[in-house]
């Protein structure tokens, strides 16, 4: 089966500036895929090439089995741009009607589906008002409604919650999760790491126009130290732990110990070892960093390379 979105060796130069530098990525059908990276990393350029707004300088990109940027590729996705601007003289419903006709939906289907997506986006009450009277958040919602109108198998969303308040963000997150559970492939470009962490199946960290890491959010943010909470410790215990399991850190209150060991088998071995030392073990877990920690660490490493 073809991947939903795939590109290889994608490059893009803007007047001597290299925005993409051999970016390669493969997104499988049904994946909820997040793009992370600092400003200017090339995330938006990647999305713009995939949706046909920008032509790549080199490499290839395809949506399903169609080259990105062509009419055939454009049939299979919905898109909400980072700069969402719509004709201000139209009403929300007229905008959906226009987009429905552009994707060759029948008039009854447009009418029925418009009502559904307006409801989904929380815009049913404002549907017959002019877009010029919409707030930024409402414009983003109507943009989302036009993106999902034709039930596209793939969705490209560039900062889809940038204009929304926390309630609106949660609403959109739930909407996207529902679409993903129905099998829609979603490519999400967002600065909001918590959003990405919560909803995405897989993430690519992009920097300097390249993918520097891909993986599941839990995998990326995993790999922290083992945390032990005991009734106390002595120097001999720490030395023995250090000898057997690797670097050990203790905290100032004398109850928490961190063992820096990535091995998945380390936890049961540590538990068994503690039980032989007449100490009470209250907690043993692997400490996970936030995606933000990972992100900063990766980018720090990326800069150094």
């Amino acid at each position: 089966m073809n991947s939903a979105v795939e590109c290889w060796g994608l490059t893009k130069n803007y007047r001597g500036l290299r925005a993409l530098d051999g970016l390669s990525l493969k997104i499988e059908p049904g994946e909820f895929f997040g793009l992370l990276g600092p400003n200017g990393a090339g995330k938006s350029t990647f999305v713009k090439i995939m949706v046909g707004l920008v032509r790549q300088t080199g490499g290839w990109a395809q949506i399903g089995d169609a080259p990105a940027g062509g009419v055939r590729a454009n049939r299979s996705f919905g898109y909400l741009p980072e700069l969402f601007r719509f004709p201000p003289w139209m009403t929300g419903r007229e905008l959906l009607n226009l987009h429905g006709r552009l994707i060759s939906m029948s008039s009854p289907d447009i009418a029925k589906r418009s009502t559904e997506v307006l409801e989904l986006a929380g815009m049913a009450d404002a549907a017959d008002r002019r877009i010029s009277g919409y707030s930024k958040g409402m414009q983003q919602r109507i943009g989302l409604a036009q993106a999902v109108l034709g039930r596209p198998p793939i969705l490209f969303l560039d900062e889809p919650t940038s204009a929304l308040d926390p309630v609106g963000r949660a609403h959109v997150r739930n909407l996207l999760a529902a679409l993903a559970s129905e099998g829609t492939t979603i490519v999400l470009n967002s600065h909001l790491l918590t959003d990405v962490e919560r909803v995405c199946d897989r993430i690519a960290v992009i920097d300097h126009g390249r993918v520097i890491k891909t993986g599941r959010p839990s995998d990326l943010s995993g790999g922290g130290p083992l945390l032990l909470r005991l009734d106390g410790w002595d120097k001999a215990l720490i030395e023995q732990l250090s000898e057997r399991f690797g670097r050990v850190e203790t905290d100032i209150n004398g109850r928490e110990i961190r063992i820096y060991n990535d091995d998945d088998e380390a936890a049961p071995k540590v538990a068994a070892f503690i039980s032989t030392h007449d100490r009470r073990l209250y907690e043993l877990c692997r400490e996970r960093g936030t995606l933000e920690d990972v992100f900063l660490e990766l980018l720090g490493r990326g800069d150094g390379e």
Partner: protein, 290 residues
């Protein structure tokens, strides 16, 4: 519905709502009122100044009416060009700047169809406007002077043609530069052609070939003035048939007329010119990053 027609309809609706068009229509109404008043008083004075020879009176009356018609057409030609430039000047450029085009371009529609749709939407609007303006002038002349020019329908088609040539140039420019810059450039080209045309007529009246050549060259940059002269020449009253010795300068309406009249090739040239600009607009827009 064809994708081209969807875009054409969208463009028409958008352009028809523009404030500049509403202002244009109001100013056009004012222009037509002033023009009508002027024509009314001129034709009235002709009636009062009737001389002894009925034949000369008839020719004089027809000449004066045709002269009024010519002045109306000259101004209408300018107004049509301005309306074309100001309604379509920012069509692609401003939509790229404001990012309103992004969700449209990413739909399954080729950029070529998008450009053709944009052109068509504006073309329908401008054709309606040109027909209304031209038709009003013909009606005023007929009502006040009782004279209907020969080939006035073909003349009307040429006036619509002027609007479409300006529109093609404007659409091409809007794929290259900003809306404001585009409007200025296209209007300058139109004015250059117009002044070139006036120079050509003066050259023809004075018998100076170099002036005629200058006019022809500037006319080729933007064939709107050539089309105007062709239309004027086609519709001017035939004074010689009446056997009265009018000077050719007067009969050709001087620099606003067609003392040096272009051949019918101008129509082919204007069509090729417009198609080339439209093809250029498609080629540029196809390569453009948004």
């Amino acid at each position: 519905m064809s994708k081209v027609l969807i875009i054409a309809r969208l463009t028409f609706q958008e352009a028809a709502r523009k404030r500049i068009l509403i202002i244009g229509v109001v100013l056009t109404a004012i222009f037509l009122s002033v023009y009508w008043t002027g024509v009314h008083f001129i034709t009235e004075s002709i009636q009062q100044d009737r001389g002894e020879s009925a034949a000369i009176d008839l020719v004089a009356s027809q000449f004066e009416t045709a002269f009024c018609f010519n002045r109306g057409l000259f101004r209408a030609n300018m107004i049509i060009a301005m309306v074309a430039v100001f309604t379509a000047g920012g069509t692609i450029a401003t939509e790229i700047e404001q990012a309103t085009l992004h969700t449209i371009v990413t739909r399954p529609i080729s950029r070529a169809r998008l450009i053709i749709g944009k052109w068509l939407g504006h073309a329908v609007l401008l054709s309606l406007y040109s027909t209304l303006l031209y038709g009003s002038i013909v009606a005023i002349i007929y009502f006040e002077g009782g004279w209907l020019p020969d080939h006035f329908l073909a003349g009307g088609a040429l006036f619509i043609g002027v609007a479409l040539v300006v529109l093609s140039a404007t659409i091409f420019g809007s794929t290259l530069v900003s809306g404001a810059a585009n409007s200025v450039i296209v209007l300058l080209l139109f004015m250059t052609a117009m002044i070139g045309g006036i120079t050509e007529q003066i050259g023809a009246i004075l018998g100076r070939d170099s002036l005629v050549t200058t006019g022809v060259i500037s006319g080729l940059l933007m064939p709107t003035d050539l089309m105007y002269r062709y239309a004027v020449n086609m519709m001017k009253p035939d004074m010689s048939a009446l056997g009265v010795g009018f000077s050719s300068v007067a009969a050709d309406f001087g620099p606003f007329g067609a003392a040096s009249a272009p051949s019918a090739t101008v129509i082919i040239y204007a069509a090729v010119f417009s198609l080339a600009l439209l093809a250029g607009a498609i080629a540029v827009f196809n390569r453009r990053d948004l």
